[in-house]
Structures are given as structure tokens and as C-alpha cells.
């Protein structure tokens, strides 16, 4: 199947999903991110990569954290950043998604960072933007959140060195999680031999095993001997849909407590994409404990987003 993220030279021109991206490209992003991390640690905060370019942050769905990290990343690359909260404007007046995009193209956009409530929205935009304009998916429906997954990969690589001997557990609302899907694809491609998902049946997508994961309904079983625990956010609105009886019960059986974490390897790391619900999916003692790498994730997230934006812009420039 044609991969719309790659140009004819197999270079990354959009980032829409981690699915189907070759290992070399994932590694290239992580390596570039590493150089930005090193540069920033050395005190450099500004790079001229996107100088003169306009990055439009199109958030059709609310988000503060992701939008801010993309904004910071783009500004560090010297881009002009325009933030648009579309929920409150054009689409509310009846304009279609593609009309909005074509209007913003006419205003001189070079890159769209898109968040949308519908799976596939970023693909649709990438398919219809003019040549030379890059699309970066900042989360579409339940489908994909590739930059989050890549920053998770960066974090794992930073703390664990390599993927080929790791057991990773992804815990919580996998059904509604674009993060989980993107993590699973990225981990598989990077050679992680055992990916587990731990959740009640109501929060697991049909046929999830076919994505290459082992399914556990028992947290104690699933966490045994794992190197990485990737917690997912549990949206409180899920409670209303008969997915779960209560947050209390969920926390009792699937919340990450120090006792449950003790079943993992002693040096296991705990990740969370944020924002966290303390006492729902994670205990404060774990969230603030020494195995949590949640704040480094945020820092790495900026470097990873810089790396992605820099690479797609460079590849668009060469072949656009």
C-alpha cells in the first residue's frame, strides 16, 4: 500500500502515524532528537532550521500541553508559529475541514500541525495539501499520536539503551488511545520482543492481539518482569458509556500502585503521556517516585517534535 508519509525517495515528508514507517526513519528521528537534547543541554536554544517558515498549529480538539510543546519546538527551530483553535471559529460556522486548510495554505503556511477528533483527519489533510507543505499529526481520534509515541521511544532508549531485550506493558484505556496504537507500532518496528497490554475487556480494541501484543486482564500477571510500564490516561467520560463501573474499581484493579509496580523489574521505568489522573490510573507515590520518568518525557518531547519538524521540512524542501 502506498504510504502517504513518504516521498518517492522513501524520505519522510509528513508524519501521520508510526505504522509502516521503517526502522531507519524512526531511528533517524530519535538520533536527530538526541542532537537537539545535547545542544539544548549545552545551552543552545535556537536553531535556524525553519527560519522564514510558517508553522500553523491547527487544533480542532482542545489541548494545551501538546500544542505548547509543538509551539516551543517550532519556535526553537526559528519558525513563525500561528496557533489556531478551530473549534471556536471556522468549522463552527460550517466551513469544511479542507476549505479551512486551503484558506490557510493561501495565507502562506509551510507546515500544519494538526489535532482532530476524527481518526484519519491528518491523512485527509496530507492527501489534499499542496506539494511542499508538510503535515504533522498531533493526534487524530483514536488512531495515532506519533510524536507522543516517538518521545516515549526516545525516553525508553534513553533509560534502557536498546529495545531488543525489553518487555513493555501498556496499561489502561487502549481502546480509545491513539498513544497506545502509535506506541505498539513503534515498539514493534524498533524490535521490542514483548509488548503487553493490560486492561479490562471493555477497554481493549477488537483483535488487538493482531497488532502483535499479548493481552492481560490481570495487572499483577501483566506487570511481572516488565522493563517499562506505559500508563495511559483514563478519560473520565468513559465512565458514562458502561465501559467501567467506577474510577474506584478501576484504580483497585488497574491503577499503578507501588505494590503492583514491585512486580515489575526493580529498574523498570514508569511513563505517562499526561495529564495524569492521580488515584485513577496512577498512585501519587508512583507518579512522584524514582521510577517515574514522566517529567523527562516532557523535556524529550520538545526535542523529538523539533526533530520531526526539521526532518519533514528538509525533505519537503529537497523534493517539494
Amino acid at each position: 500500500m502506498h504510504n502517504p508519509q513518504l516521498n518517492k525517495n522513501k524520505a519522510l515528508i509528513h508524519l501521520l502515524t508510526t505504522e509502516g514507517l521503517p526502522r531507519a526513519i524512526l531511528t533517524q528521528i530519535l538520533d536527530r532528537a538526541a542532537t537537539y537534547v545535547a545542544e539544548m543541554e549545552a545551552g543552545h536554544k535556537k536553531f535556524p532550521v525553519l527560519s522564514g517558515k510558517s508553522v500553523f498549529n491547527l487544533f480542532f480538539e482542545n489541548s494545551t500541553r501538546t500544542r505548547t510543546t509543538f509551539e516551543i519546538a517550532a519556535k526553537r527551530l526559528s519558525a513563525d508559529v500561528i496557533n489556531l483553535n478551530i473549534n471556536a471559529s471556522s468549522t463552527a460556522k460550517g466551513e469544511t475541514l479542507l476549505d479551512t486548510i486551503h484558506n490557510l495554505e493561501a495565507m502562506g503556511a509551510d507546515m500544519f500541525v494538526v489535532r482532530h477528533a476524527q481518526s484519519g483527519a491528518a491523512h485527509l489533510i496530507a492527501e489534499h495539501v499542496k506539494p511542499g507543505i508538510a503535515v504533522v499529526n498531533a493526534g487524530d481520534g483514536r488512531h495515532a499520536h506519533p510524536t507522543q509515541a516517538l518521545l516515549d521511544m526516545y525516553t525508553i532508549r534513553h533509560f534502557k539503551g536498546d529495545f531488543t531485550g525489553l518487555t513493555v506493558a501498556i496499561v489502561g484505556d487502549v481502546l480509545h488511545s491513539r498513544v497506545a496504537r502509535s506506541q505498539i507500532h513503534a515498539l514493534s518496528t524498533l524490535g521490542c520482543p514483548e509488548i503487553r497490554v493490560i486492561a479490562p475487556k471493555t477497554l481493549l480494541p477488537v483483535g488487538v492481539e493482531q497488532l502483535g501484543v499479548h493481552v492481560y486482564h490481570d495487572m499483577a500477571e501483566g506487570l511481572k518482569g516488565v522493563d517499562v510500564v506505559a500508563m495511559l490516561r483514563l478519560q473520565n467520560e468513559r465512565m458514562a458509556g458502561a465501559y467501567l463501573p467506577s474510577t474506584q474499581e478501576f484504580f483497585k484493579y488497574y491503577g499503578l500502585t507501588p505494590e503492583k509496580l514491585a512486580l515489575a523489574k526493580p529498574d523498570a521505568i514508569v511513563m505517562h503521556p499526561g495529564p495524569m489522573n492521580r488515584g485513577v490510573e496512577i498512585d501519587s507515590a508512583v507518579a512522584d517516585g524514582n521510577q517515574a520518568v514522566i517529567l523527562p518525557q516532557v523535556t524529550f518531547g520538545i526535542a523529538v517534535r523539533m526533530a520531526v519538524m526539521a526532518l519533514v521540512a528538509e525533505n519537503q524542501a529537497v523534493n517539494g
Partner: protein, 430 residues
């Protein structure tokens, strides 16, 4: 009324399983002779069908013509033209127009419009409930008298089972058939694709197979209680077909059809969110598609319909879940049926029963090439190849998952009531 002689064609009569080369003679809208010319027959028109195949006109059990109310998507005239270009001579149209076909006057008007256009025959299906609201029964007997051949809710569910129970009881009183879509609305929820591994991968909300099977179980149970005749429209799953097989073995008057899309496609064809593949019911797994092909051969499925649903471009250029479901299909029904027959190694005559004689018998007439039958015919070139492009389609709706596909088999002439209503090439011979 013209007398027409059609010479030297390959005559396939699916109703009788015959397949031979010969001549066909039409007079007063009927077939008056097959093989040898009747004495004294002086044709007003002769069609040379050398190298062409002659079959009864296609009977499409589900094609939306969008009139009244959705003329921006299609009009009766545009879709009637598409029908005859596809060899479809009889069209059954669902009641989900705007307003819905819930008043005898509306049905009369629609039939009158169709008669004025005078291309294909129109068989309206009446709304089972007023405005398809799922609550109040329409005047079923009055609507039947106005020309409705059956009653349905189209895609609008009846969630109150007591209403469905009463509807079936009342319809059974008059022996009026119901055409129901077997889908439990609450289990389908806001799903947009088959609830399987592929939808999980794309993060699309799924419609589980149980939405179909639970509905079939309910309908079958209500049939036992009411003796209503039911035709299930566009069955999509292996499990659903197995239940239908069992119910028929029991002797229940249950028939069903599938859409041609489901004969050929599966959920994995959606690719990266291609909204042209958003149809209702959703394209299911490859295993379900195989079960559909088996059920066509073993007779569990009575008919294949086009499920023709012209949609405007704007309604498809949206994220998958927001795109309007539906595909245009009347012009693809024949070539896609030919392709299925070839792929499945099925005798052509047998495959063609699913789009001619079997759906016709449900409507109470015979689609055949025998003497005395209606002179509704499709004459096609079995070897002509063409590519599905917006320009190649007469329908106002250009939305089809088969865009870009190479089709084999092209309708050259279509006759309805013994009159030539479509000719793809300038006619040879007079």
C-alpha cells in the same frame, strides 16, 4: 409499438439456465419468439447482436434515486439514465427520500415522474413508519394500492420492538412483504467500520457483527410469532448468513440480498481512511466476504443489489467517520457480477439469476428470455473493457470504491417494454 428483431446474440436465460446463440423477436413489449422468426413478422428495427450477450434486464433491489429532496445528490432523470446505461431495467427504491415515501400521494407522484422519464421501471418501497420515525405505522394497505411493492425503514432503525412486532403483524394481515436491514441500532452505536482488527488499527469506531446477528435473531423470532414475510437487505456477515440458512430450513418465508460491494470488498480495502469505502453495512472481514460468496452459490442469498447511493463530493471529502456512507453502483452491477462469476468459476447463467430472475420473482414477475416474457433486455459486450472514472459514469454520484478499476463487460443496448432506451454506440441496421 415497434417490432424489433435482435439477431445473432448469445442468449443467456438465467431463469431456465439456457445459453445459446440465436435471434430474439419482440412485439408489443413482449418476447414473441426465440430462435426462428415468426411467420409474417416484419421488424421495424433490427439489432445486430453478433458477439454480444443478451440477458433479461437487471432487477436492482436497492437503488437510491435521491428524489424527492436530495436533488443536489442526484435526480430521477440522472439516475434513470445511469440505470439503463448499466442494463438495469427495474429499480426498487428505498423510502429514505425527503419527505420519506410515507404518503400514497408521494408514491403516485414519484411513479408518475418515472413514467414521464420513461426509461427504467420503478418499484417504490414504502416507509414502514411515518417519516421513518420508528414509531407510527404508515397506511400500509393504501401505500400498497398506490404502488409500493414492500415496506422498509431504510437505514432508520425501529428501536421499540413492540412497534416492529405490530408492524409485522399488520403487514402479515395483508401479506405485504417487509424489507428490513438487520442492524441493532444500540449495538451499532456510532460505529463507522467493521469492528475488527483493521478498524482497531485505524482507530475507527466499529460496528460489531453481533449488531447484525442480534437483529436477525429478533426478526426471526418475530416472524415465527407473526407469519410476516421478510426480506433482509444487505446482509454482511458469515454469522448472519448462518442464521438465515437455519431459519429458511425451518421454512420461514425469509429472503435476503447482499450488495455487490460486499461480494468483492472487505474492511482491509479501506486503506488509509479512503471514505469511498464507507458504506452501510460496513465492509466486513475477508472471511465474511468468502461466506457471502458461498451463500450466493448455495442459494442462501437470493439476490445481489447495487445498493446505489449517489453522494456529492463534499460529503465524501471528510474524515472517514464524518463522510456520508454510500457508493454509486447501478452501472457497476453487471460487470462486477460477471467478475464474481469468473473469479468463483460459476456458470454465467447461474450468477446472472442473482441480478435478474431471482429479484424479479420477488417483485412478482418473470425476468426471462422465454416467449411471453417482458421485453426488458440488457445487451452487453462481454469482452469490452473500460475503466471506472467519473466521466465513464452517467450517475450524478461519482463515489465508488471501484474508482480506477478495470471492468470487463459493457452494456451496449438496453430495452425496456420492447423499446430501445439506451444505445452505447450509434445503432447499426434499421
Amino acid at each position: 409499438m415497434k417490432r424489433i428483431a435482435i439477431r445473432n446474440g448469445r442468449l443467456i436465460d438465467p431463469a431456465h439456465g439456457t445459453d445459446k446463440v440465436g435471434d430474439l423477436f419482440l412485439d408489443h413489449g413482449k418476447i414473441v419468439a426465440v430462435g426462428s422468426e415468426p411467420e409474417g413478422f416484419k421488424p421495424d428495427q433490427t439489432i445486430d447482436a453478433t458477439g454480444l450477450t443478451i440477458i433479461p434486464g437487471l432487477v436492482d433491489l436497492a437503488a437510491r434515486l435521491r428524489e424527492p429532496g436530495f436533488e443536489y445528490k442526484a435526480t430521477l432523470a440522472s439516475e434513470m439514465n445511469a440505470a439503463v446505461a448499466g442494463g438495469v431495467t427495474s429499480i426498487v427504491c428505498p423510502p429514505d427520500t425527503d419527505p420519506a415515501l410515507d404518503e400514497p400521494g408521494l408514491v403516485t407522484m414519484l411513479r408518475q415522474r418515472a413514467r414521464q422519464i420513461d426509461l427504467a421501471r420503478l418499484y417504490p418501497v414504502g416507509a414502514l413508519t411515518r417519516g421513518l420515525n420508528g414509531k407510527d405505522l404508515t397506511e400500509l394497505a393504501e401505500l400498497r394500492d398506490a404502488g409500493c411493492v414492500a415496506f422498509s425503514q431504510a437505514e432508520h432503525p425501529i428501536t421499540d420492538l413492540q412497534v416492529l412486532y405490530r408492524a409485522m403483524q399488520y403487514a402479515a394481515t395483508f401479506d405485504i412483504p417487509l424489507r428490513l436491514r438487520a442492524q441493532d441500532a444500540t449495538l451499532a452505536g456510532h460505529g463507522v467500520a467493521h469492528d475488527g482488527e483493521y478498524a482497531s488499527r485505524l482507530g475507527l469506531t466499529g460496528i460489531p457483527v453481533i449488531a447484525e446477528t442480534v437483529a436477525i435473531a429478533t426478526i426471526v423470532e418475530l416472524m415465527r410469532a407473526t407469519s410476516a414475510r421478510v426480506h433482509l437487505c444487505r446482509v454482511s456477515s458469515a454469522a448472519g448468513l448462518a442464521m438465515i440458512r437455519t431459519a429458511r430450513r425451518e421454512g420461514l418465508p425469509l429472503t435476503c440480498d447482499v450488495s455487490i460491494n460486499h461480494v468483492h470488498l472487505a474492511d482491509i480495502d479501506i486503506g488509509f481512511f479512503n471514505s469511498l469505502y464507507r458504506v452501510t453495512p460496513p465492509l466486513r472481514s475477508i472471511r465474511d466476504r468468502e461466506a457471502i460468496q458461498t451463500a450466493l452459490v448455495d442459494g442462501t442469498i437470493d439476490a445481489i443489489c447495487s445498493d446505489h447511493s449517489p453522494v456529492d463530493d463534499d460529503a465524501k471529502l471528510l474524515p472517514f467517520a464524518e463522510a456520508e456512507p454510500g457508493a454509486t453502483g447501478m452501472e457497476l452491477l453487471l460487470p462486477l457480477t460477471l467478475a464474481w462469476a469468473e473469479k468463483a468459476h460459476i456458470p454465467l447463467a447461474m450468477a446472472l439469476t442473482k441480478i435478474t430472475s431471482e429479484p424479479a420473482s420477488m417483485l412478482g414477475f418473470s425476468a426471462s428470455l422465454s416467449v411471453g416474457s417482458r421485453a426488458d433486455l440488457a445487451i452487453f459486450d462481454p469482452n469490452a473493457t473500460w475503466r471506472v472514472t467519473p466521466e465513464a459514469l452517467k450517475s450524478q454520484g461519482k463515489n465508488t470504491p471501484f474508482t480506477g478499476y478495470e471492468m470487463r463487460g459493457k452494456v451496449v443496448f438496453t430495452l425496456v417494454k420492447g423499446k430501445l432506451v439506451y444505445a452505447a454506440v450509434p445503432q447499426i441496421g434499421h
